[in-house]
């Protein structure tokens, strides 16, 4: 099968989830913006506030809007004593609903304001009540303009729903994010084509309804509406079937995480579990997803939790750190640390080998001296992370410029000379393959980054699950992990994360 058709086989469940999310957001958006539009048309003051708010929501980048709902919902959940999920469907629904408001509201208000005043005077003069005027006159007259707004909202919502992947809601974005990260263009294409196809189909159906209303053809309106409803019902159908208990495996958005998620998944499947993957979660939200039970298991890195979640600045020896994290997670949230996998994926500064030799740079101390003439290329979050702050405390480094890239493009930037130094990862296969020099950290500013296996609180006492996963503890050496990562990250003869996971399992006899 071609890689594209292979990728398309992953589409149906994601398409269903995507459609349901977008439909729910659009329905909620309509439920809020229709009354608001009517109210706004009657009161100019309300219109100013409502349209201003909707426009403001629109100016927030959709990715940020989704991410903002995570802390907001955590806070609200804390206020009411817990129980509100901060990840997954709810934050996605709320963010997309905010996005859907503006076009519906604006077209509704514009449409109502554009109704000939004589028609309104006639409606009043004939003795219509406010409700009759709305139902018999204003609603039918505003419907075509309003439907145009609904179409815009639908297309925006379907497009932006791809981003809900980052807060743990399955969508067609799963394919796009995973594909972008592993440079699996077939996967990206499958996600994009499906999302675009869905948007076009929904837009066409809503367009039929719009023209049906304008030309007073009831059959066309009901026909198109029926197709939409059938589509939503078809997407709902799988939810109605009771399913075997499923373990949800989370992963962040880079190759190693995708590979390890599959390794975990294969073991659980062999142990008789159904598994689901929630891939591409943001580094900042994934621990929250685990402690709240949105995912059941994932691999994190000791230093990440140590510096971000625990806000520690000291750098103890690696085993002591792992033990301390285990105590902390069990105490604060009931998350169980099953063990370290055996390799470390630390933040490391890397340079092209020839450049490092030419400049005589081997350590971060050497970099302090050379940095004012160099450009730092970092991943998207490194510059905001405590590790970078810790490095800056220990070493007075001042780069000439800093640029943030997605990890894949960061290596490209180093290769092409756009960046002289990058924030690399020590388990990255490209370090060896591209002959990069990893700079040493003589002042021990960066903590250890042992890969650790974490279980959600509700799975912490699940002995069968622990038994299925414990064989992974201490079994994965960094050399094997680098090779597996490189299978996915290299430019030619790329292997899917699934394939790399199988390779790793064979190599380690798992």
């Amino acid at each position: 099968m071609s890689p594209f058709l292979d990728a398309m086989t992953r589409v149906p469940p994601l398409l269903a989830a995507h459609l349901l999310l977008a439909a729910a957001a659009l329905a909620l958006g309509l439920a809020i913006s229709l009354p608001l539009a009517i109210w706004s048309a009657r009161r100019p003051g309300v219109a100013r506030v409502a349209l201003g708010f909707a426009s403001l929501a629109q100016t927030i980048p959709s990715l940020a809007l989704l991410a903002l709902f995570y802390p907001l919902l955590l806070f609200v959940s804390g206020l009411v004593g817990g129980g509100i999920p901060a990840l997954g469907f709810l934050p996605s629904l709320l963010a997309l609903t905010l996005y859907a408001l503006l076009p519906i509201l604006r077209n509704g208000v514009t449409g109502l304001a554009g109704i000939d005043p004589a028609v309104i005077e006639a409606a009043d003069g004939m003795g219509m009540t406010a409700w009759q005027k709305l139902r018999l006159v204003e609603a039918p007259l505003v419907a075509p303009v309003l439907m145009a707004g609904v179409r815009t909202a639908a297309v925006w919502t379907i497009g932006a729903a791809t981003l809900s992947t980052t807060v743990g809601q399955p969508s067609l974005g799963d394919l796009i994010f995973a594909g972008l990260q592993t440079q699996n263009w077939a996967l990206v294409l499958a996600g994009c084509v499906s999302a675009a196809g869905l948007a076009l189909a929904v837009d066409a159906l809503l367009g039929l309804i719009e023209r049906g209303i304008a030309t007073r053809r009831r059959g066309r309106v009901f026909g198109a509406a029926a197709v939409l409803v059938l589509g939503i019902l078809a997407a709902l159908a799988p939810l109605a079937v009771p399913r075997a208990p499923t373990i949800v495996i989370g992963s962040k958005n880079f190759s190693e995480q995708y590979i390890l998620a599959r390794v975990i998944g294969h073991r659980l499947e062999r142990a008789g579990y159904r598994v689901e993957y929630r891939e591409g979660l943001g580094s900042a939200v994934i621990y929250g997803a685990l402690s709240s039970g949105a995912i059941d298991v994932y691999v994190d890195y000791a230093g990440t939790l140590w510096t971000n979640a625990m806000r520690r600045r000291d750098t103890p020896a690696r085993p002591a750190m792992v033990a301390a994290i285990g105590n902390w997670s069990a105490r604060t949230s009931g998350v169980r640390l099953l063990g370290a996998l055996g390799f470390e994926n630390a933040y490391a500064f890397a340079m092209r080998g020839d450049a490092a030799r030419a400049k005589g740079i081997v350590s971060l101390d050497d970099l302090v001296r050379a940095a004012p003439g160099l450009t730092l290329g970092s991943d998207l979050e490194f510059l905001e992370r405590p590790e970078w702050a810790a490095v800056q405390r220990a070493y007075p480094i001042r780069f000439a410029a800093t640029h943030a890239y997605s990890p894949t493009f960061m290596y490209r930037a180093l290769e092409s000379g756009q960046a002289d130094v990058i924030s690399a990862f020590s388990s990255d296969g490209r370090i060896a393959a591209e002959h990069l020099t990893v700079l040493t950290d003589p002042r021990r500013a960066i903590p250890g980054y042992d890969a650790i296996l974490l279980l959600a609180p509700k799975r912490a006492k699940d002995a069968r699950l622990a038994a299925a996963l414990t064989p992974l503890v201490g079994r994965i050496p960094v050399a094997a992990m680098r090779e597996a990562n490189y299978l996915v990250d290299r430019d030619r003869n790329k292997v899917s994360p699934e394939g790399a996971a199988r390779w790793l399992e064979r190599r380690l006899g798992l």
Partner: protein, 260 residues
């Protein structure tokens, strides 16, 4: 039914004033009795308060002070929509509902009153305003201005109201249509026994159609007389100035004819 004879109600204004925020006074302490069955024209220049006075009858405008009564009952009692369903209302911009057929427009008052089977009534009403019954299926934008206002009149008369309010009803029509429709409305007034109150800035129209002409200026009624009395110069200065215009036109036309 439109064909049955209804004795139109009387209308009275008792010390009615309409003052807008900011101090502008549109209607200034007007007291007035209009007998049932009368055809009254309210004439005045723009801003004289004639439309405001008319719209206080069906509560499209609420007076700042004073009481408007129909057959002795205060119009402010009860909900506005119930009052308006008993009053026919025709205005210059017509306001036909553009998403409804002519038939649906004419039947809207009946529909509001909860009546279902309206086809026969619509046909009778179209007859009444001299429109072909086939027009019922057309959309308003397929009609000429005069035809639309005929539909407006039919719509206003559908629920057989005793009182008909006309606010510059023929203002946007060409002179020939205007004359035809004015004559038609006068005939319907007679035939249905309506009380009709018509606002117009055209003194000739008022003199020709009405039994009684009220001249308004700066929110007050400055003349109240029959057309004959006004023509005889008994209406005072403002009325005389308004009457002078059509009279001078008529004189010039006659001179042209005589000279030919």
């Amino acid at each position: 039914m439109p064909d049955s004879y209804i004795a139109g109600p009387s209308v009275s204004f008792a010390a009615v004033t309409k003052r807008y925020p900011g101090g502008a006074v549109a209607v200034d302490d007007v007291s007035l009795e209009i007998a049932g069955g009368a055809f009254v024209a309210l004439v005045g220049s723009s801003g004289s308060g004639k439309s405001t006075l008319l719209k206080m009858i069906n509560r499209l405008i609420v007076p700042s002070a004073g009481v408007v009564r129909i057959d002795g009952a205060d119009v402010a009692d009860g909900p506005a929509y119930a009052l308006r369903r008993r009053i026919g209302y025709v205005f210059q911009n017509i306001g036909l509902f553009p998403h409804m057929t002519v038939g649906e427009n004419v039947a809207i008052g009946l529909r509001l009153a909860g009546e279902r089977d309206t086809a026969a009534r619509v046909a009778a009403l179209l007859d009444l305003v001299d429109l072909p019954q086939a027009f019922a299926a057309r959309m308003p934008d397929a009609l000429s201005g005069g035809q639309r206002q005929r539909v407006g009149v039919a719509r206003a008369l559908a629920t057989a109201p005793g009182l008909l309010l006309l606010d510059e009803p023929f203002g946007a029509l060409d002179p020939v249509t205007r004359d035809q429709l004015g004559t038609k409305v006068r005939a319907l007034h007679e035939r249905l026994g309506l009380t009709t109150i018509m606002v117009t800035h055209d003194m000739a129209e008022a003199l020709i159609l009405a039994d009684r002409v009220l001249v308004m200026d700066a929110g007050r009624i400055v003349a109240d007389a029959t057309p004959q009395a006004l023509l005889a110069g008994q209406g005072g200065a403002v009325a005389d100035a308004l009457v002078a215009v059509p009279r001078a036109q008529a004189r010039r036309l006659r001179a042209l004819e005589d000279g030919a």
